[in-house]
């Protein structure tokens, strides 16, 4: 299994990145992304390391697909939409290359 960079309880940020919007010279779809748009840039907590799986962003284009660590990441649900019931949450599978560690000062904020 690929070494996992994060452990349960780690605070993480989902990368604020939109590879699917980067233009391609051939005009074909540029990316296949499994990280939902509503979570880009959001803060969450690693709940579990689910294992390692071939990167779907490569598989979708029949490229060699190295395995990447996959996490279950927990997010508070109301801050995502500015509505909802306190205590409700979202639990989502996210690949490691979409996660950044939070700096300690951000954790305190």
């Amino acid at each position: 299994m690929t070494e996992a960079r994060f452990a349960p309880g780690d605070r993480v940020r989902v990368r604020y990145d939109w590879p699917e919007q980067r233009p391609q010279p051939n005009g074909l779809p540029s990316a296949h992304i499994r990280t939902p748009h509503y979570l880009r840039g959001r803060l969450g907590t690693v709940q579990a390391v689910l294992g390692s799986f071939a990167n779907p962003e490569d598989l979708a284009f029949a490229r060699p697909a190295p395995k990447r660590a996959l996490y279950h990441v927990l997010f508070d649900q109301p801050p995502i939409w500015n509505e909802g019931a306190p205590g409700d949450s979202l639990l989502v599978e996210i690949f490691e290359h979409w996660l950044e560690p939070l700096e300690s000062q951000e954790q305190a904020a």
């Binding site: 689910l50 927990l74 649900q77 509505e83 205590g87 979202l90 639990l91 989502v92």
Partner: protein, 200 residues
């Protein structure tokens, strides 16, 4: 009466199968076996897993640790299937499963996904206003229950292990399994004891 015209898609499919067979990538026997296991898969499998978990703590532990291994013990072939994760409801936490990206669904233990699961409306609303979605299903969570929406975005497939309803003490596994609907395994509904039975 003349036979209906064969859709062109069938002809495409047959050419694809012939090409894959010629290259040794699939065999007719493998296709038949996969078709048979797909046809066998239904929510009754997931319901039996849940009923057994309500009765047998060791089985429950196995199911939560490795859903695919538990399904295999139920006679389901999980070869080539994605790993199966089981989400354990508690008196203060309820799970709801959605795939906002497409329609990922634990077919091995629930069969084909219903059309509403694949609808744009369910996929967008389940993560944004899940309690409104549940309300439209007629599902009210007990006060103090937090809702956790599980967006199935990658390599696992997820089913819910709901709470055993009150009033089912002493029930057999078969009788309990009959309470567990497909909708309860996705989390849009809760297992209910029919009023007539509860009065027995």
């Amino acid at each position: 009466m003349s036979a209906p015209a064969r859709p062109q898609s069938i002809a495409h499919l047959e050419r694809l199968i012939a090409a894959l067979t010629a290259r040794g990538l699939v065999s007719e026997a493998e296709l038949a076996a996969r078709q048979a296991s797909t046809d066998r898969a239904s929510p009754e499998v997931g319901a039996r897993m849940v009923a057994r978990a309500w009765l047998d703590p060791e089985w429950r532990a196995l199911m939560l640790r490795d859903g695919a291994a538990a399904a295999e013990q139920m006679g389901v072939s999980m070869a080539g299937a994605p790993p199966l994760g089981v989400l354990e409801d508690t008196p203060t936490l309820h799970h709801l499963v959605v795939c906002t990206l497409c329609s990922c669904y634990p077919r091995a233990v629930l069969g084909y996904p219903p059309s509403w699961y694949k609808s744009f409306e369910y996929r967008s609303r389940a993560v944004r206003e899940p309690r409104a979605v549940l309300a439209e299903w007629g599902t009210t969570l007990p006060p103090g229950t937090r809702l956790r929406v599980v967006d199935s975005t990658a390599d696992y497939r997820w089913m819910v292990l709901p709470l055993r309803p009150a009033g089912t003490e002493g029930w057999s596994e078969d009788r309990l399994a009959a309470l567990v609907t497909r909708d309860a395994l996705v989390g849009v509904a809760l297992p209910q004891v029919p009023t007539a039975l509860a009065a027995e």
